[in-house]
Symmetry: C2
Subunit: 114 residues, 2 copies
DNA sequence: TCAATATCTCAAGAGAAGTTGAAATATGAA
DNA sequence: TTCATATTTCAACTTCTCTTGAGATATTGA
């Protein structure tokens, strides 16, 4: 993960429709979900979905695999992890307060407990 | 941290000049650095710098404090932490592979050891 | 081959983002 | 007040992003 890859990844996540796609695909897990189902779930037309999933794919955040006439999309969890690691380490210098938020279930953000 | 705040934050980081500003301010630490020094460091004109730092400030990633005729900018580490936590928990469902990248010094990204 | 299904690509337009240089504002010193 | 310093705001421009609808491509089955 270098700087331009990170910028691509951050820009890919910084959009409502694309964030919704990622969220849905995360729920779908490693096996992924077909394009049409994801497009429906996020309320996007086929061309709009294609535009955004292409963005996510170019950024490396999702992977595609053709299964007969469908295309299954799935999240590349390792890539998202590497993106977060880049922001935390390379850009924030591994600052303890930043790391604290992620290390153990959103400790510093006060979202939830275990 | 809600979704629109997160999108603002991600978009703020997804730009070369702004990422350079954040990096420099992270090095400057809690006490921050004056606008002119940061602008110089990242090679931006005063108006260009002002445009981008305004973006970062609106996103909540940096804070400003006037010190006589200078304005000191500093990173809001807690806010960046909350942003990363949002992506990890709320958007990636706290997936173990994503969390592994950040929990213990970029384990899964293979960047460095302790 | 023909039709149906699933998805992608293209072109056009609206709107947002980024750059530039000039002018405005705020602060402090002579 | 006048000047110098530090920073922001504005207007004009170019470029990028997003949306829409129409048409193209790929796959399967009759």
């Amino acid at each position: 993960m270098n700087e331009s890859q990170a910028i691509l990844g951050l820009a890919a996540l910084a959009q409502e429709t694309r964030l919704a796609i990622v969220r849905f695909l995360v729920k779908a897990g490693r096996k992924g979900a077909p394009a049409g189902m994801v497009a429906d779930a996020v309320g996007a037309s086929s061309s709009r979905f294609s535009f955004h999933i292409g963005h996510l794919e170019r950024a490396g955040l999702v992977k595609a695999e053709r299964r007969s006439r469908q295309i299954l999309y799935s999240v590349d969890f390792a890539h998202i992890g590497a993106l977060l690691a880049f922001v935390m380490e390379d850009c924030c210098g591994g600052d303890p307060q930043v790391r604290a938020c992620c290390g153990t279930k959103s400790a510093a953000s006060g979202l939830d407990g275990e």
